[in-house]
């Protein structure tokens, strides 16, 4: 249980690359095995099935040139698109940020908003909740 909690608390925002994340995963599991030898050889109730995944990315017919347009377009994204830009991008852009925050900061110079968007907790929110929080932050910025 302790090991499961340790692994679950790894936050992809802390990593620049998959290699770093994998290295930490291995370190935590190895350390646990060293300290709990009787668990290291324990037979699993069910095996862990490793899977690969295919990512097919394609441009959508949506674009934003200002914050207002951006807020509107975020509402129109599918779950997969939101996941691609807001979650999967964290390891892709190698900047400890996500596509949205990166654009808010670099293209609109909205550093504080970019930072607040990047702090939305992905681990305790559903995709739908995370999007609702982001839209609320964007709307708030627009009304200021």
């Amino acid at each position: 249980m302790r090991l499961a909690e340790q692994l679950a608390s790894l936050d992809i925002r802390d990593y620049l690359s998959l290699a770093e994340l994998r290295s930490d995963l291995r370190r935590i599991v190895s350390e646990y095995c060293e300290h709990h030898l009787h668990y290291a050889g324990q037979e699993a109730f069910e095996p862990f099935f490793f899977c690969d995944a295919i990512e097919v990315a394609m441009p959508l017919d949506l674009e934003a040139r200002n914050l207002e347009e951006f807020c509107e377009e975020v509402k129109k994204l599918s779950h997969a698109s939101f996941y691609y830009h807001f979650v999967a991008s964290r390891l892709r852009v190698h900047l400890r940020t996500n596509d949205f925050s990166n654009w808010l900061e670099k293209s609109l110079n909205l550093k504080r908003l970019a930072h607040r968007a990047n702090r939305i907790d992905l681990y305790t929110n559903t995709m739908e909740n995370a999007r609702a929080i982001l839209v609320a932050l964007l709307s708030q910025e627009l009304t200021q």
Binding site: F49, C51, L60, K76
Partner: protein, 405 residues
């Protein structure tokens, strides 16, 4: 008898949201006019036929040139394929060796009848598996979509089928647990239901009540229901035993409703076994429904207090998906693809025995607020993962991936 109304992609927008529909259209943009062929062994009855009934029109509307063909065979063929089906679920195979020859001969016969020249061919389940020999010069991409649990197959039957599987470009399974070690790529696709089909659309409460009363079911007392084919692997006798244990504490009724698929010759015998186990209890309703009873099944599910799926082995268990979609509390066996849908104490309750099933039913009957919550969470899980549009998206993703330069 009910007729399915034609449904269009836009009709799914109120359920999924416009962005999901727009995404499907965007993905299909690069697949316009690509030819796809789906082949299975029955046009009616069973989850595969139901799924194809909706998936094919959706992919057609998205611009793919898709065709669905059904192989034909005599009773001897379907007896053999049923024995294969059971053996792939781990049971003994007791038919003579000539069965393998008969199986191949029927496939050869179908091959001379079917036109197999699509860019993407998807063969569903073992019955039409040898059709791969109709592939010309490695043209097109061929996939075997296995809907059944292959985790512990009978070695005799699997040794016979495996060489055919290995000739495909890939195999598609419903869960990693069902897969076998194969030299070809394997893909994971969850099966799906259609929220707009006759079997799943919302019905008026008065209509539901009317259907229950038509079958002699009292809508004012708890109704426990298992919807499934009369198949030993669905354990209808086990369900009756669980009901008998619950009945000691609650004045409830049991509905066992299902039909027989064209490719399942065992149904009659299992139905008899269920009738015998029911011992003329007037509160046990065993309904052998014809294949055109989608609305009746929908009403029985919507009118139930708890849905049971006490299978001994299960592919994915689309009847569980249907129940969850209808926000029903589900008590189901932790086998096959059921645990992918029923997350214990979150979207339903899992059990491992007759006694466990009875206990979980009693728990839900005693705690109706928990039952409601489980039903709501189950509905949300199906919306996110197991609707027909997600299935269409998986096929589009696979085809797009294969077209990548």
């Amino acid at each position: 008898m009910t007729t399915e109304r034609p449904v269009h992609l836009a009709d799914y927008a109120p359920i999924l949201g416009e962005p999901e529909i727009a995404e499907l259209r965007a993905m299909a943009g690069r697949l316009q006019g690509r030819t796809v062929q789906m082949v299975n062994s029955t046009a009616v009855g069973g989850g595969v036929a139901e799924m194809l009934t909706r998936l094919v029109p959706i992919l057609q509307e998205l611009g793919l040139a898709i065709r669905w063909d059904v192989i034909t065979g005599g009773n001897d063929f379907f007896e053999i394929t049923k024995a294969f089906h059971n053996a792939l679920h781990g049971e003994a195979f007791q038919l003579p060796v000539e069965s393998f020859e008969i199986f191949l001969a029927y496939n050869q016969q179908n091959l001379s009848r079917l036109q197999m020249d699509a860019e993407f061919t998807v063969i569903h389940d073992p019955q039409p598996l040898p059709l791969i020999q109709g592939r010309h010069d490695h043209s097109g991409r061929w996939f075997w979509r296995c809907h059944i649990d292959l985790s512990g197959p009978n070695p005799l039957v699997w040794r016979f089928l495996e060489p055919w599987v290995n000739r495909y470009d890939g195999a598609i399974f419903s869960s990693p647990e069902f897969a076998q070690q194969l030299p070809i790529p394997q893909y994971l696709f969850s099966p799906s239901i259609d929220p707009l089909s006759e079997k799943n659309r919302d019905l008026e409460p008065a209509f539901v009540r009317g259907i229950l009363e038509r079958f002699g079911i009292d809508p004012t007392r708890p109704v426990l229901t298992q919807i499934s084919r009369f198949d030993r692997l669905k354990d209808p006798v086990g369900v009756i035993r669980a009901y008998q244990l619950v009945k000691r504490y609650f004045d409830c009724q049991l509905v066992l409703a299902g039909g027989a698929a064209d490719d399942d010759p065992e149904g009659g015998a299992v139905l008899e076994e269920a009738n015998e186990a029911a011992q003329h209890d007037p509160d046990v309703h065993i309904l052998n429904l014809p294949p055109w009873s989608a609305t009746e099944i929908n009403a029985l599910q919507q009118g139930s207090t708890i849905i049971i799926q006490k299978s001994l082995r299960e592919g994915f268990g689309l009847t569980v998906t249907e129940a969850l979609w209808k926000k029903k509390p589900v008590v189901a066996a932790a086998v096959g693809g059921i645990p992918l849908q029923v997350i214990h104490k979150h979207t339903g309750l899992l059990a491992h025995s007759v006694e466990g099933t009875a206990y979980q039913i009693r728990f839900l009957l005693s705690n109706p607020a928990i039952a409601v919550k489980l039903g709501e969470q189950g509905h949300e899980r199906v919306r996110e993962q197991f609707l027909i549009t997600s299935n269409a998206k998986r096929y589009l993703t696979l085809f797009l991936h294969l077209l990548k330069p």
